[in-house]
C-alpha cells in the first residue's frame, strides 16, 4: 500500500485545529472505548465551552423574563437578548437587527414565511418555485401553502452531477410569486449560486426564500450581497444550542406581514375583542422566548468570528477534498454530488451492497459518527435511485486523521460484508 500523503490543509493549521478541539469537551468522549470521530455536524454541530459557559452564566447570574421586569437582572437579560440579536445581525451582514427574528429553528422560520407572507400574498393560479434538492423543511410548508391557497408548485430539476439544472429557469419563473431554495444541499453538499438565483427571482417579480441552514455555519454569508428576501437558519448547526434559529427578512416585507403565533409579547394594545400588534421583530416573537439560547447563539457567533468564516470554509473544503480523494481510491465506494469546485464538506456515499444503516452501525462501533438514511430528502434520493446513503460532514474541529479513521472503518465494514 502506498504511503498516505496527508494534505496541506488550507484555512486552519494543525495547531489551530488542536486549539479549537480543546474547546469542545465532547471530543474527549470515548464511545465503545474508541475515540469519538464526529462526522455529523451537518445534522447538528458540537458546542464549545464558550457557548456552554455563556448559557450557564446566564442561568446562574441574570435569568429573568425579558421586556417585562423593571428590576436589574431583568434588564440584564433583556440587554443580553437584544445584544445577541445585534451580534447575529452583524454576523450575516445586516445593519438592521430588527430584521432578525428569533425562531426555534430554520423549520419554524420557513413555516413563518409560508404562513404569514404566503397566506396573505398567494392566490389560486399563482406559482411557487422550489428545487428538487430541498430538505423536507423547505418543501412541506410550501406543499401545505399550495394546498391552502390553490397555488401551484414547480421544481427546478437536479442534474445528474448534483447541481441545479438552471437551463429552463426563466420559463420556470414565469408567473412565480415565491422562489424557495437551499443555499447548500444537506445531502449532496452542492453550493447553489444564491446571488444569481435571488436576482433572477427578483427580476421575475418573485420573492426569494433561502434555506441557509448549511451555509451560515460554514461559509461567510452576507445577506446584502445575496440579495434575497428571506433567509432561515438554525443555531444548533453553527456551534449554538438547540431551540433557536433566525429568520432574516427585508424590513419592508416583515412590516407588512401579519403575525404567525399570537399572544403575550407580540402585542400593542389589547382589548377584550381585538388587539394591535407590536412592531417587527417583537410581532413575530409571541410568548417567552429562548433567552439562554439567544445568549448561547451569540457566543457561538463570537467564536466563529474569532476563528474567521473564510478560514473555516477553506479548511472544510480542504478536508472534504482530502476525504473525496481518499474515498475515491476505496473500491466499491460510490460518491454522490458535484465536483469539489461546487461543494462543501458534506459527502454522501454508498459502499457496495452494504445498506447505509449497516454501514453506519459498523462505523459507530469504531467511534465514527455518520448519518445514514434519506437525510430528510426523500424525493432527491428517489431521483438518485438509492434507498439511503451514509453521509459524512466536516467542520472546523475535524482533522485529516479523522478522515483516515473514516476510511479505515469503511474498510472494516467491507471486510465484514466480504466485499473486495
Amino acid at each position: 500500500m502506498s504511503a498516505i500523503v496527508k494534505p496541506q490543509t488550507q484555512g486552519l493549521t494543525q495547531a489551530d485545529v488542536a486549539r479549537i478541539r480543546a474547546n469542545f469537551p465532547i471530543l474527549a468522549e470515548r464511545p465503545h472505548g474508541k475515540q469519538l470521530v464526529f462526522l455529523d455536524s451537518a445534522a447538528s454541530s458540537q458546542k464549545p465551552v464558550q457557548v456552554i459557559e455563556a448559557m450557564d452564566d446566564y442561568y446562574r447570574r441574570y435569568h429573568a423574563n425579558i421586556h417585562r421586569g423593571v428590576y436589574h437582572i431583568s434588564e440584564l437579560a433583556t440587554e443580553a437578548y437584544e445584544e445577541a440579536r445585534a451580534s447575529i445581525a452583524r454576523f450575516i451582514g445586516t445593519p438592521c437587527a430588527a430584521e432578525c427574528i428569533y425562531v426555534r429553528n430554520a423549520t419554524e422560520g420557513l413555516n413563518l414565511v409560508a404562513y404569514s407572507w404566503g397566506r396573505s400574498n398567494l392566490k389560486r393560479g399563482d406559482a411557487i418555485l422550489l428545487t428538487e434538492m430541498e430538505h423536507h423543511s423547505n418543501l412541506v410548508p410550501w406543499q401545505v401553502l399550495a394546498q391552502q391557497t390553490g397555488a401551484q408548485l414547480r421544481f427546478v430539476p437536479v442534474a445528474d452531477d448534483g447541481r441545479l439544472d438552471l437551463h429552463d429557469l426563466d420559463n420556470l419563473l414565469d408567473g412565480v410569486r415565491l422562489f424557495a431554495f437551499t443555499a447548500v444541499s444537506n445531502t449532496l453538499g452542492t453550493i447553489n449560486p444564491v446571488r444569481d438565483l435571488a436576482a433572477r427571482a427578483r427580476a421575475a417579480g418573485a420573492v426569494s426564500v433561502v434555506d441557509a441552514c448549511q451555509a451560515v455555519p460554514r461559509m461567510p454569508v452576507d445577506v446584502t450581497e445575496w440579495g434575497a428576501d428571506f433567509i432561515a437558519f438554525s443555531g444548533h448547526k453553527m456551534l449554538g444550542p438547540t431551540g433557536i434559529g433566525i429568520l432574516w427578512g427585508r424590513k419592508a416585507l416583515l412590516d407588512a406581514m401579519p403575525p404567525f403565533l399570537t399572544g403575550g409579547g407580540m402585542i400593542g394594545v389589547v382589548e377584550l375583542t381585538k388587539s394591535t400588534y407590536a412592531d417587527v421583530p417583537a410581532r413575530f416573537e409571541a410568548g417567552t422566548p429562548a433567552i439562554a439560547e439567544a445568549v448561547g447563539l451569540a457566543a457561538a457567533v463570537r467564536y466563529l468570528e474569532a476563528v474567521g468564516m473564510e478560514r473555516i470554509h477553506q479548511y472544510e473544503l480542504s478536508l472534504a477534498g482530502y476525504a473525496l480523494e481518499r474515498l475515491a481510491q476505496v473500491p466499491a465506494v460510490k460518491l454522490y454530488g458535484p465536483p469539489m469546485s461546487d461543494r462543501t464538506g458534506v459527502i454522501s456515499m454508498t459502499v457496495g451492497d452494504i445498506h447505509a444503516h449497516d454501514l453506519a452501525s459498523i462505523l459507530d462501533s469504531e467511534g465514527v459518527c455518520v448519518r445514514a438514511g434519506h437525510h430528510c430528502n426523500q424525493p432527491l434520493m428517489e431521483k438518485l435511485g438509492v434507498p439511503a446513503t451514509a453521509r459524512a460532514s466536516f467542520y472546523l474541529y475535524n482533522t485529516p486523521d479523522e478522515v483516515d479513521a473514516l476510511v479505515s472503518a469503511i474498510e472494516k465494514a467491507k471486510r465484514i460484508f466480504k466485499i473486495a
Binding site: D353, D358, S361, E366, G373, A388, K412, I416, F417, K418
Partner: protein, 136 residues
Amino acid sequence: MTDNTFTGMDELYRDFILDHYRNPRNAGTLDNPDATFEDLNPLCGDKIRMDLKIDDGVVTDVKFKGRGCAISQASASLLTEQIKGKSLAEINKLGKEDVLANVGINISAARLKCALLGLKVLKSALALKYVEEPDL
C-alpha cells in the same frame, strides 16, 4: 478483547445473515394472497411487504418483498422460513425473542426496530384478515 466491539459487529453480520440479506428466501409476491400487508420504518426507510396463503388455519405459502438494511431483510427472510406450514395459533405466539433467536444475537435498541419490522408486518397482515376473530 482489544477489538471487542468490532467482534460484536462480526457476530451481528454473520455469514447466514449476509446470505439471507443477499439471497432472501421466499422473495417476491403471491397472486391473490389471503392476507397481505406492507409497512415501513419511516426513520430509515426500511420497507417490507408480506403476502400469505392460508388454508384451514395454516400458512401454506408466504412471500415477502422489501428493501432496507441487512438486519431487517435477513430477519424477514428468516421469519418467512419459520412460519411456512405453521398454524395461525403458533404464529400468534411469535414475539421479539423468537426474532432475536433467529438473528442469533442481542441487538442494540437503535437496530431493534429493523429486526422486528418483518414480524410487525406479519402480525398486521393477520390482524387485518382476522379482525373479526380476535382470539385466533
